[in-house]
C-alpha cells in the first residue's frame, strides 16, 4: 500500500467516524475499530521496505515528501497498534458519555497525525502534521472540561512555544541549506558551521523536549495525563510523547547526522553528554515526585516523565548500544505504559471514576485479569527480568557502565528502585489489601477492556523473553544511523558490545520457580481463608475495613518533602501569572471605542511624519 493511500485511509477513517456518529452509534464503533485495524495492518505490511513518495501538489511551491524506513516503520507500527488497541478499549469506556463521536474522530485524527509525523520526509510536512497533532491532542485532553481544560491549556501553550521554536529552526535550516527534504538537509548541514548545528539542535530540542516531557519541559504532562480520558492517556503516554523522541532521533541522527551530533560541543563536555545529564535529572526528579502521588493516573504520568528520561538518556548518550536501548525502551514503554493506563482506566470505569489510591484496595478479588495485566505492566515498568523493560534498561545500563559514565548509570539504577517503590504502591493500593465494602459487588472489566490489556501484557512478556524480535528492527535503525550492528540473536544480543541472553535467564527463572513450587508443594496443605480471617491481635477484624493504605511511604516522604516540590512547575506558573498580568495591562489600550483607535492611528502617523521630517530615513 502506498504511503499517501495509507495516510488518506487514516484521515478518512477519522472523518467517516465523525459523520457516522450522527447516524448510528454501533456503526460508528465498528468503523472506528475497522479503520484503526486496517491502518495497523497496512503499516505492518510495510515492514522492511524503504519507500519515498513525493506528493503531486506541493505546498506553497515546496514539495511534500512521504517516506518510510526502519525508524519510521517502528514508530508508525507503535502508533497504529497502540491507537487501535485504545480504540477497542474506548468502546466500553466511552459508552454513555457525552460527545462520543467527537472523541472517536479526534482519537483517530491524532493517530493519523502521528502517522503523518513519522512518515513525512521533509520538514514542512513534518511541521504541518506536528501542528495537526498538537491541536487535536489539545481538544482531546480538554474534552472533560473543568480541570481538564486548564490542563489542556497548559499543554497547548507549552506546545505552541515548542512549535514556534521548531518553525524558526526550519526557516534557519532552509536559509542555510536551501532544501527541506531530510536527505538534502543532512548533506547541507554537515557542511555548515557547528554553531548552526547547535542552534538547530537547541531550537528543535525545545519543540521535541516539550512533547517528550524532558525536564525542564515536563510541567504540562502530569495534569494532562491524569485529566484526559483513560484510553487516550494510554495513547498520550504510550506513543504521543514518543513523537518527541522520534523528533530527537530525527534531529540528532538524521538531520544533523551521527558524526555531526557527537562532535558538537567541547571536548570535556560534549553536547550529547549534557543532553544525557538532562535525561538523568529527568529520571531522578520525576521518580521522587511519583513516589508522593496519591492519584493513580498522576502517579503513572510522573512515571512517564521518568521513563522518558531513560529514553532520552539512551538516545543522547550516543553509543550503538545506548541508542538501541533508548529506542527499545521507547517501544517497551509504549507497551507497558499503555497497559498500565488501561488498567487504571478499567478500575476507574468500574468504580465510577475513582482514581484516589487512598480509597481503593482489594480489587484483585473482583478484577483478576486487570490485576494480572497491571502486575505484568508494573514488572515491565520496574524492569523485572523476563519483561521487555528489563532488556531495554539493561542495554542502557550496560553501555553507561562500560563506556565510563558510572554516575549516570547510578542515577538510572537508583531510578529503578524508585520505580519499584511507586510501582508497588500502585499495585498495592488498588488491587491488594482489603476490599472496601462498597466495592463488594464490583464486576470485572468488560471484554473490550480486557482484550487490549491481555494483548499488551502478552507483548510485554514476549519481547522480554525474545527481545531479538524488536531488536532486529532497532538494529536496522541503528545501522541506518551509521552505528555498528549489535549481533542480534533471538534471546538478546551477543558480541563484543556486550552479551545478554534472555533465553538463558528465562530458563533459569523457570527452573527456579518450578523448584520453589516443588518445595512449596512438599509442605502440608493449608486452607483458603477470606480477608476477614486476618491476624488482628486476637480481635475480630472490623466489619468495614481492617486495613487502609494511606500515606504508604510516609517516613520517606517526610524525609524527602523539602526536595519533592517541583520548582519547574512553579516557575512556569509564575511566568504564566506574570504574562496574564502584563496582558491585562496591555488590554487597557484596547478601549473598544473607535475614536480611540482613530486617535492611535493618527498618533502613529504623526510620529512617522515627525521621524521623516527630522531624520529623513526614507
Amino acid at each position: 500500500m502506498s504511503l499517501p493511500v495509507l495516510l488518506a485511509l487514516a484521515l478518512g477513517g477519522s472523518l467517516l467516524t465523525y459523520i457516522l456518529s450522527g447516524i448510528n452509534a454501533r456503526l460508528r464503533d465498528a468503523i472506528a475499530v475497522i479503520a484503526s485495524l486496517t491502518v495497523a495492518a497496512a503499516v505492518a505490511s510495510l515492514y522492511g521496505r524503504t519507500v519515498e513518495t513525493t506528493l503531486g501538489t506541493g505546498f506553497l511551491g515546496f514539495p511534500l515528501v512521504l517516506r518510510i524506513g526502519p525508524l519510521s516503520w517502528l514508530f508508525a507500527m507503535a502508533v497504529s497498534a497502540i491507537g487501535c488497541l485504545s480504540v477497542i478499549f474506548s468502546l466500553s469506556y466511552m459508552r454513555g458519555k457525552g460527545r462520543t463521536g467527537f472523541y472517536y474522530a479526534m482519537l483517530l485524527l491524532v493517530d493519523a497525525a502521528m502517522l503523518g509525523v513519522v512518515l513525512s520526509g521533509d520538514l514542512l510536512s513534518l511541521f504541518i502534521f506536528w501542528e495537526v497533532m498538537s491541536w487535536s491532542t489539545f481538544l482531546l485532553i480538554s474534552t472533560n472540561g473543568g480541570p481538564a481544560l486548564a490542563a489542556g491549556m497548559k499543554y497547548f501553550i507549552m506546545s505552541i512555544t515548542g512549535s514556534l521554536a521548531m518553525l524558526v529552526g526550519i526557516v534557519w535550516i532552509f536559509a542555510t541549506t536551501g532544501t527541506m527534504q531530510f536527505s538534502g538537509v543532512a548533506a547541507g548541514l554537515s557542511a555548515a558551521a557547528p554553531g548552526t548545528r547547535l542552534g538547530v539542535l537547541v531550537l528543535f530540542g525545545i519543540a521535541f523536549g516539550v512533547k517528550s516531557a524532558v525536564w525542564p519541559f515536563h510541567a504540562w504532562l502530569p495534569p494532562a495525563h491524569s485529566e484526559a480520558p483513560s484510553p487516550f492517556s494510554a495513547v498520550l503516554s504510550g506513543v504521543l510523547i514518543k513523537m518527541g523522541v522520534y523528533g530527537f532521533l530525527l534531529t540528532m541522527y538524521v538531520v544533523i547526522g551521527m558524526r555531526g551530533f557527537l562532535s558538537l560541543g567541547w571536548r570535556a563536555l560534549p553536547v550529547h553528554t549534557i543532553l544525557a545529564i538532562i535525561g538523568a535529572v529527568t529520571i531522578i526528579v520525576a521518580t521522587l515526585i511519583a513516589l508522593a502521588q496519591n492519584d493513580a493516573k498522576r502517579l503513572l504520568a510522573w512515571s512517564t516523565v521518568a521513563q522518558a528520561g531513560y529514553i532520552f538518556l539512551g538516545i543522547s548518550f550516543g553509543t550503538a548500544v545506548a541508542v538501541a536501548g533508548g529506542i527499545l525502551h521507547f517501544l517497551s514503554h509504549a507497551v507497558f505504559k499503555a497497559l498500565l493506563f488501561m488498567a487504571a482506566g478499567a478500575v476507574e470505569y468500574r468504580t465510577g471514576g475513582v482514581r484516589d489510591l487512598d480509597s481503593l484496595g482489594g480489587l484483585i478479588k473482583k478484577m483478576p485479569v486487570t490485576f494480572a495485566a497491571a502486575l505484568i505492566g508494573v514488572c515491565g515498568l520496574i524492569g523485572v527480568p523476563l519483561t521487555n523493560g528489563f532488556v531495554s534498561k539493561w542495554l542502557i545500563y550496560k553501555t553507561l557502565i562500560v563506556d565510563g559514565s558510572p554516575f549516570l548509570a547510578f542515577i538510572a539504577l537508583i531510578g529503578t528502585w524508585g520505580t519499584v517503590l511507586y510501582g508497588y504502591k500502585f499495585l498495592h493500593n488498588i488491587f491488594l489489601g482489603q476490599l472496601p465494602e462498597k466495592y463488594a459487588n464490583l464486576k470485572p472489566a468488560p471484554f473490550s477492556m480486557r482484550l487490549p490489556m491481555v494483548i499488551l501484557a502478552l507483548v510485554v512478556v514476549l519481547f522480554g523473553v525474545l527481545p531479538g524480535i524488536p531488536l532486529a528492527v532497532v538494529d536496522a535503525i541503528g545501522s541506518s544511523f551509521g552505528f555498528a550492528t549489535l549481533g542480534v540473536i533471538p534471546g538478546g544480543i551477543a558480541g563484543e558490545t556486550g552479551t545478554i541472553n534472555m533465553v538463558n535467564i528465562f530458563a533459569a527463572i523457570i527452573v527456579g520457580v518450578v523448584l520453589a513450587w516443588l518445595i512449596f508443594r512438599a509442605g502440608a496443605r493449608g486452607a483458603r481463608v477470606g480477608q476477614a480471617d486476618s491476624y488482628a491481635a486476637g480481635g475480630p477484624v472490623p466489619t468495614d475495613r481492617y486495613q487502609y493504605s494511606v500515606h504508604f511511604y510516609a517516613p520517606l516522604q517526610r524525609m524527602l518533602a523539602p526536595w519533592l516540590r517541583d520548582p519547574v512547575d512553579a516557575f512556569y506558573g509564575g511566568l504564566g501569572a506574570r504574562v496574564v498580568k502584563l496582558s491585562d495591562g496591555l488590554r487597557r489600550i484596547y478601549t473598544g471605542l473607535v475614536a480611540d483607535y482613530v486617535m492611535y492611528v493618527m498618533l502613529f502617523l504623526g510620529a512617522l511624519i515627525l521621524v521623516q521630517i527630522v531624520w529623513r530615513p526614507w
Binding site: 558510572p406 528502585w417 498495592h428 533459569a508 527452573v511 520453589a516 517516613p555 524525609m559
Partner: protein, 296 residues
C-alpha cells in the same frame, strides 16, 4: 561439571545460609549471656513449619512467596562460590542487581494480598529501607564494575586475582568499607530490622505467613544472607579458588556484620535512611570518584 554446578551451588548456598541463621541466633544468645539454641535449630524450625498446616489468602499470596524464593535461587546461580558458577555469561552483575529485586517484590505481593495492616507497614518500611541501602550499594557495585571495566562477576573475580595489590586497588578499599557499613541493612540484621520488627508490627510482611509459607520465607532469608555476603567476598575480597576458603572468608565478613548487629539497637526508618545516605554513601561516592579519576 557445569550441570553439577546447577545442583551444587543452590544447595551449598542453602547450607551456608541456614548455618548463618543458626549462627546468628547462637551469637546473639552468647552476647546476651545466654546459652542459646543448637546451631541446627533453624533446620528444626523449618521442618516444623513445613509440617504445619497453614492458611492461604489467595493465588498471589502463594505466588509471591514462590517468586521470592525463585528469585533468590536464580541469583545464587549467578554468584561464583569458589569456582562454582553455573550462569556465567548471561548479563552478569546487572542481572543480579535486578534479580535481587524479585525477592522483596515477591514477599511484598504476598504480604499485600494477606491484607494485614502490619504487613503493609512492614512492606512500606522494607521498601523505604531498600531505597536507603541501594544508594550506597549501587555506588559500590558500580565502582567495582568501572574499576575492572566489565559487568561479569567472574571476570571481576579473575581480575582481582590477577592484579598485584597496588595503589590502583586503593579506591575499592573505600567502597569495601562502605559495603561493610551497609552490610547489616543488606542482610536485614538488627539496627536495620525495622521492617520485620516483631514487637511493634508483628513481624511485618511475615505477619500472615504460616506453615510452609513461613518455611519458604525462611529459606529465602537464608539465601539472602548468603547473597549479601558472597557479593562482598566476590566483588571486594577477590573471591576464592576453592569453596572452603570462600566459606571462611564469608564467615569473617558475617562475623563483622553480627558484631555490628549485636551492638546497636534498632533504628527507625528515617534514622536508618539518614545514616545510610550519609556516611556509607559518602564513602562509596568518593570511592567511585577515585575509580573514575584513576581510570582516566
Amino acid at each position: 561439571m557445569r550441570i553439577l554446578g546447577f545442583v551444587i551451588s543452590p544447595l551449598a548456598a542453602l547450607a551456608v545460609g541456614i548455618f548463618f541463621l543458626g549462627l546468628t541466633r547462637r551469637f546473639m544468645a552468647r552476647t546476651q549471656w545466654r546459652y542459646g539454641p543448637p546451631l541446627y535449630q533453624p533446620l528444626i524450625d523449618m521442618l516444623r513449619f513445613f509440617t504445619q498446616k497453614s492458611v492461604s489468602h489467595g493465588a498471589i499470596f502463594d505466588l509471591g512467596v514462590i517468586l521470592s524464593l525463585a528469585g533468590s535461587l536464580v541469583v545464587v546461580l549467578f554468584l561464583p562460590f569458589g569456582r562454582i558458577c553455573p550462569l556465567q555469561g548471561s548479563g552478569g552483575l546487572l542481572v543480579v542487581l535486578y534479580l535481587m529485586l524479585l525477592a522483596p517484590l515477591g514477599l511484598a505481593l504476598s504480604a499485600g494480598e494477606a491484607a494485614n495492616p502490619n504487613s503493609s507497614i512492614g512492606i512500606s518500611r522494607m521498601f523505604a529501607l531498600a531505597l536507603g541501602y541501594e544508594v550506597p550499594l549501587l555506588l559500590i557495585v558500580l565502582a567495582a564494575m568501572t574499576r575492572y571495566d566489565t559487568i561479569s562477576i567472574v571476570e571481576i573475580v579473575a581480575a582481582q586475582r590477577a592484579a598485584v595489590p597496588n595503589l590502583a586497588t586503593f579506591p575499592l578499599v573505600l567502597s569495601g568499607i562502605a559495603y561493610l557499613l551497609i552490610l547489616p541493612a543488606l542482610l536485614g540484621l538488627r539496627p536495620f530490622d525495622v521492617a520485620q520488627a516483631p514487637q511493634e508490627i508483628s513481624s511485618g510482611p511475615l505477619a500472615e505467613l504460616g506453615g510452609r509459607y513461613l518455611a519458604l520465607a525462611q529459606i529465602q532469608n537464608a539465601l539472602s544472607l548468603f547473597i549479601g555476603i558472597s557479593l562482598f567476598v566476590n566483588l571486594m575480597w577477590g573471591g576464592a579458588s576453592n569453596p572452603l576458603v570462600f566459606f571462611l572468608k564469608m564467615l569473617v565478613v558475617f562475623a563483622f556484620g553480627l558484631w555490628i548487629s549485636a551492638s546497636f539497637p534498632r533504628l527507625r526508618v528515617e534514622q536508618a535512611v539518614r545514616y545510610l545516605w550519609r556516611w556509607p554513601t559518602l564513602l562509596a561516592f568518593v570511592g567511585l570518584l577515585l575509580v573514575v579519576v584513576i581510570r582516566r
